[in-house]
Amino acid sequence: MNTLINKLFNRDNRTSKDDAKQRLKVLLIHDQVDLTPAQLDAMQDEITAVIQKYVEIDRDNSIVRLERGDDRIALISSVPVRRVIERALPA
């Protein structure tokens, strides 16, 4: 019932606890890897830029982020490839 009401009145259907959980997950990764949010953004941009040298990607739907598993942090990425750029690989 609560979920239904949320769906009716809350356009993006996100409760405040979802926000809390998401913020917390990001915070804990920052705490653990000791990188600032700005450094993480820069890392994501650079990784994406490297991929873009070789394939054309759907940047809007790309995900490159750190996630916490049970006992380690992993770099999770999902980068949809539109097409392979037709050119010789750099020597």
Partner: protein, 272 residues
């Protein structure tokens, strides 16, 4: 076999002292001998929560500096057989004690008591190091808030670094109504993030404020839902298997209030 358990959280104000007091009283009422130790030197409060502040003569630092014997500093709680408080010093700072001295002190207490509960100060510095020094295991207290859980995560790492076994978690100030409308992280969310076993959930309830006002921990009140939640935590601490979780979902609602008026104790709602 005796055990020294440190109650810690990282963040201040989440309920470490309340938890230490209530677990101590509950374990004693269950028949164990218990020493609760206030390790928050300079900011002592466990004496106030237990209502024993007027009986302090000597404190933990006096014992460590040899100004009195351990037995002289221990305050017997007349309301609960087997419960003793070792108060912190109020006019000293945390550097008055070393981890080695704390370990010797808690080891000595373990010779006399079934449980030694150490109420850890907030923070991650000297006070924390002192409090965990003699501990055999840790109980982490958190609340369903981003800041408290973040600090709990940090403390869990520090407890592991101190080579204590995996700590257990108490989630304090849990509000069922907010959880059910999605405005508070629920038990599963918190356990997923912190990934340690749950010792118990304590509902957010005005009983806690009333009991702090009076210096009578909620556990003494048979009818208190918070008291019942702590009693169940204490049974789990003592190793009782399969203690059912407390259902306090009706505790604050109209039906819960009606039940109380009609003479059913709130604790009677404790059905899993």
């Amino acid at each position: 076999m005796s055990e020294c358990i440190v109650i810690t959280s990282g963040k201040g104000g989440v309920g470490k002292t309340t938890t230490s007091a209530n677990l101590g009283v509950a374990l004693a009422l269950q028949g164990a001998t218990v020493a609760v130790v206030d390790a928050d030197i300079g900011l002592r409060n466990l004496d106030v929560i237990l209502g024993l502040e007027n009986r302090i003569v000597y404190d933990l630092v006096h014992v460590i500096e040899g100004e009195c014997r351990l037995k002289q500093a221990l305050i017997r709680d007349k309301r609960a057989d087997g419960l003793y408080l070792l108060p912190a010093a109020q006019t000293r700072d945390k550097n008055a004690v070393t981890p080695q001295q704390m370990r010797e002190l808690t080891d000595k207490l373990k010779e006399e008591f079934d449980y030694v509960l150490v109420d850890c100060p907030a923070g991650i510095e000297q006070g924390f190091k002192n409090a965990v020094a003699g501990a055999d295991r840790a109980v982490i207290v958190t609340t369903p808030e981003v800041s408290a859980i973040r600090d709990a995560d940090r403390i869990i790492g520090m407890v592991e670094a101190a080579e204590l076994p995996e700590p257990q978690l108490i989630i304090n100030r849990y509000r069922n109504k907010m959880v059910s409308r999605g405005d508070m992280m629920n038990k599963e969310d918190i356990l997923e993030i912190l990934a340690i076993p749950l010792l118990g959930i304590i509902p957010d309830h005005e009983d806690i404020i009333i009991s702090a006002n009076r210096g009578v921990p909620a556990v003494f009140d048979e009818a208190s839902v918070v008291g019942e939640a702590f009693r169940r935590c204490a049974r789990r601490v003592a190793g009782e298997p399969d203690v059912p979780e407390l259902d306090f979902s009706e505790g604050n609602g109209l039906w819960g209030t009606m039940k109380r008026w009609m003479g059913f104790g709130a604790a009677a709602q404790g059905v899993a």
